[in-house]
Symmetry: C5
Subunit: 152 residues, 5 copies
């Protein structure tokens, strides 16, 4: 099985590398193909091109905190969903907004946690979907602590 | 007839299970297929994949209350509509926003009511469309009490 | 000629019935097919399905006044435009926002006026396009009094 | 060569007529086909239908000043871009927002200027693309005075 | 290899010329084809038409600072992403918002820097993708100084 990973030169951390390493460290049999594009709006077509040959893609990006950057992220997300519908394959979006953390140190923590957890999610989708079904409604979070299910 | 139900690991309640149980309890002859994805933006392609084999899908999610979460919900909804147009089959969106209720207890009530009522709607669409026609303009609500028709 | 009319169980008035009656009362030779879906986001695919067999559709809905409802209306509208482009047939959107009127009585007036006028527009599009061309730039309004052309 | 012109009964000036006359007055050999639809959201499919036979379309509309009208304009614009991509032909959008001017007299001026200039642009695109290339980055404006290039 | 460059008559600087010259000065073997359209909303279809024959496009525009202009930019961006997905080729968006700088002099600097850097990015994508991969997560910026990677 083959996972495509696309990241950007805009991001301030090599997010794709974290995803690729996490997959390689956990599943020896999964091939990872990595591409890099300038910014997040270039991710949708890059993923679509990779999906010709890959079973799933992970699209990594780090939008800035300004209003314009939020609009860019929205456009990129919309395109990623469209690409999935055209390819009939999943693309996991791993975006970390620069304003999610108050310090660079915290931003790194969020990036690493989100990238690693979504690396696992990507493989679960194509290889072990039962792992996701077992966690339906369990309040999973990527980039921080799980919120957990509501007791009732 | 076959109903696809997709929910998320992000949600804090197993919404898909409520939908699936409601259908199983009410119609013994309807087959339910359940899938789980990480978050709401993963729902559109998951539904499109299920619709290859199902007559309708129910897409369940629980977006958070932050501004970013509202944008995610908008992107997911747009994708769900697009998926329907591509497949020419219905996908009922069952989203409960975390900020719709002021307590966890109330949130559970909303989730259960909305899931159950839309489980019925899904089956009506594919099996008993007259049930919906009979209620045109009757102010039905899912997640709370019906508002009813305006008297005139 | 055949006109598809789709409305919702969410609306608080049977909008589709007003449209269907208006057409039946005015043009004896037009066949009207009516469908009902739960909410406005279900309209696009319902219209697309009807357009396989109809010459035009009228999509009726009554979005609530909350911010979330406005987003739903935007998503539904976007989907209705997409459906038209895919089918190469018109869908007339007849949405009345609950907050357009300050009383239920006024809301009923708006709904009736908008439904009736758009019923005529639908038939003009497929049967008497000259009626529309004759009124180009004439400030027509549905749901209230026409604004008229600007004198110059 | 054939130019499609679509306008609305909602607008308060016969915008399509201004565009059609401007083309007829300037280029005797260009055929103009005119259609009228109720509102701006009906423009995308009307243009797509015309483009089966026309080389380009001009889509005219006059959105109101309210927040809801701005959303309508956004939906129409998005649809017009989608229609172009599906047809691989240009559609020039000529929208004048009712709140662009403080008086009806000024609004008329804006409408006439924008309609006429875009009538020329439409013909340039299909017949004299060099005219546009010669003005790249020259700060052209439709509906008012050109802003011109930045001196540097 | 062939790069399509599209710019607008609306922009106040000949952005396409800067991009085209930068490519010609750096890569003698790359053919550049230039087109000009009236405004940014005309870019998506113009790029799609060029991509029939080009390996990549660069879409240049200079949206104004008003709220309406920001909506136009959003619509254009959405269309550019859609065009890429339909063509399975990249389109690099090079937009400079008029309100990004406080003086015309600064605006010129931003335009020149962004155009030149994206000219290089366009060629890297089709010819030297390794150049981008080597800079994954390195905080590259176009239009100003790079932000660089976060140290960790």
């Amino acid at each position: 099985m083959k996972v495509g990973v696309v990241d950007t030169t805009f991001a301030r951390l090599d997010m794709g590398k974290i995803v690729a390493n996490e997959i390689a460290d956990t599943w020896a049999d999964i091939i990872v193909v990595k591409r890099t594009v300038p910014g997040i709006k270039d991710l949708p077509v890059a993923c679509k091109l990779l999906l010709a040959d890959c079973d799933i893609c992970v699209a990594c990006g780090m939008p800035g905190g300004a209003e314009k950057d939020k609009v860019c992220a929205h456009e990129a997300s919309t395109g990623l969903i469209q690409a999935q519908l055209m390819c009939e394959k999943h693309i996991l979006e791993v975006f970390v907004h620069e304003d999610e953390a108050s310090s660079e140190k915290d931003l790194v923590k969020i990036v690493e946690d989100r990238c690693r957890k979504h690396a696992h999610n990507a493989v679960y989708i194509i290889k072990q979907p039962q792992r996701l079904r077992d966690n339906a409604g369990s309040g999973k979070r990527q980039g921080g602590q799980d919120k957990g299910s509501i007791n009732h």
